[in-house]
Amino acid sequence: MRGSTRGSGWASGGLGRLTAVALLDVRDLKTQFRTDDGIVGAVDGVSFSVEKGKTLAIVGESGCGKSVTCLTIMGLNPRAKTVSTGEAVFKGRNLLELPPSELRTVRGSEISMIFQDPMTSLNPVHSIGKQLREAVQLHAETTKAAASKRALEMLKAVGIPRAETRLEDYPHQFSGGMRQRVMIAMALINNPDLLIADEPTTALDVTTQAQILKLMNDLQRDFGSAIILITHDLGVVAETADEVLVMYAAKPAEQGTYSDVFYHAHHPYTWGLMRSLPRLATQGQELKPIAGSPPSLLRPPPGCRFHLRCPYAMEVCRTTEPEFASVEGSDLHRAACHLDEATKKREAETLVAETMASTG
């Protein structure tokens, strides 16, 4: 998927952005949860846009707000406990302001979502045929037979062997990888314009991961859907993403095209993520995890949220929050860091050199 689309797509990406309207345009999204302990700012000022046929990867550690961002777009947060502001304009409509009944018609037909754990994401008491048919019949007046036909088509498309015989089987009769294929079939059954995949491969073993990623790429090529891929695995990002958003503690840390983030990373957190990525060629060398753990979103630290774990932290980082500013020389590239431009460039180059050296 990437090979051809990225080259041409992103060369014109900046210009295209000015003329064409993005499929989904998220502006300054904020989501807060009311909890017994106080208000948790789970997402704090995230902006991005996704175009047709493109993949945006949202990267970050657990609890950084990746999933909540997407659940907010889908309107799947617990209604009574959530306050969301900003906008998420999808095909001209702000999803955050749609009444629940209208948002429901968008979910599953125009935007659909697949989840992290295929073992628990299918209802154990209904056959997969019934669950797939349900997805069709919720959005279209069709007969059961027509819905079954569509379900079978999709099962074949996602590569379930002997799909004809498996329609009336129950989820527990499938392996994890096969269940994730069923989830993908269910998500794509109504030809959605946007597919949100929340860590779709995290619960699967490595060979199955590769198959599922390839499947998603193939289906994206065939159906032309846009994808938002949530992951903490930069390896997955490298294989699929056109654009990357790195989140840290509910805020965007760095954002840009694939090459911006991978070859010209401007944020110490992104560097940390890259250095903690295992590679076959670095056998024998120790992985360098990012020390410490993410801060509590109940009481986030002052200044830059990353300063407690940042090896480059300066005095200013402890007091002043860095602006999420554009990086010179790129339309999309933005990063939130106080470090001077020269240091960032030098570190980014060192990182690339390290990567090159280790992968040969």
């Binding site: 889908m74 994401s121 209802n123 154990p124 989830m183």
Partner: protein, 323 residues
């Protein structure tokens, strides 16, 4: 499936023998001579001996037990009462409809209360309804059924006089020597026992259903259903309730089975001549055949309902395969 049922029934036979044997042994541990009681206060030792011989009480326990088993298997007879010489079968058959009416009717009442209240509480946790329901649950679990029964009798039976205080009426119509009968009398006489019986159980079931529904609402597949665009009512009906009701089915089967063995307290309070009442009476009179009769009936019910629950469970939950 057939093999499963056969295996279960074989186990039922083992269980049956164990239960009746234990009942026999316990009975003979009590330092009382049942023959003397049966023969009456003024009986001579010779008469007592004759009675003991007629009632098989002069044989060793194992012979008595085998005699009982033989009678049951060959003639389907539970024997004859030591006291009134009535066939135990007829006593059981007279008492069973009373207890069955009480328990099944009570189960309907408590489920009619528990299902809607439990679900609504789960959907709106901490709402006024939920808080009221939880207070009610606490009250229902804490208050003793005898106390509730007496208070209800006093208020509705004595003070307001809207419901009969005591007694049972045949559903089919008045039997010989009875003053009431027919569906209407049956219903009015059972209404108060049902409600009192249901208070305790509905409290348990409200709490259980509420917890199950809340837990199921957090399941990933419920989120999947919402992500598919299913409206909330459909999510609840198709994806939450069926899963949340699985443990409820098991509990309901067990509770009904156990209560069928005799809802002693409620039967005593409302003067219902059911199995619990029969059991108490026969224990007080050291009437072994009747005690065994009630025990047999109760254990058959437990076995039957367990089997029923298992089959029902396999039907609701495709993950369970009986084999």
């Amino acid at each position: 499936m057939v093999r499963y049922v056969i295996r279960r029934l074989l186990w039922a036979v083992v269980l049956f023998i164990a239960v009746t044997l234990v009942t026999y042994i316990i009975f003979f541990l009590i330092p009382v001579d049942p023959a003397r009681l049966a023969a009456g206060k003024s009986a001579t030792p010779a008469e007592v001996k004759a009675v003991a011989h007629r009632l098989y009480l002069d044989r060793p326990i194992y012979q008595q037990y085998l005699h009982f088993l033989g009678q049951l298997v060959l003639h389907g007879s539970l024997g004859y009462s030591f006291n009134d010489r009535q066939s135990v079968n007829s006593s059981i058959f007279a008492a069973a409809p009373v207890t069955i009416s009480l328990v099944l009717g009570g189960a309907v009442v408590w489920m009619l209360i528990a299902i809607p209240v439990g679900i609504l509480s789960a959907l709106r946790p901490r709402s006024i309804l939920d808080r009221c329901a939880m207070v009610g649950v606490l009250g229902g679990i804490s208050a003793h059924p005898v106390w509730i029964g007496l208070v209800a009798s006093y208020i509705f039976g004595y003070r307001l006089g809207v419901l009969p205080i005591q007694g049972y009426c045949n559903l089919r119509g008045a039997a010989a020597g009875q003053i009431c009968g027919g569906p209407i009398d049956w219903f009015t006489h059972m209404l108060m026992p049902w409600i009192v019986f249901a208070v305790l159980y509905s409290a348990f079931y409200v709490r259980m259903i509420r917890a199950n529904v809340m837990e199921t609402l957090n399941e990933d597949y419920v989120r999947t259903a919402r992500a598919k665009g299913a409206p909330e009512s459909l999510v609840l009906r198709r994806h939450v309730l069926r899963n949340a009701m699985l443990p409820v089915v098991t509990m309901l089967g067990m509770d009904i089975a156990i209560a069928l063995g005799g809802a002693v307290l409620i039967e005593t309070v409302f003067g219902l001549p059911g199995l619990g009442y029969l059991a108490i009476q026969s224990v007080q009179q050291f009437d072994l055949p009747k005690i065994i009769g009630v025990t047999v009936f109760a254990s058959v019910m437990v076995i039957l309902f367990n089997l029923l629950v298992d089959l029902l469970y396999a039907w609701i939950d495709p993950r369970i395969r009986l084999g």
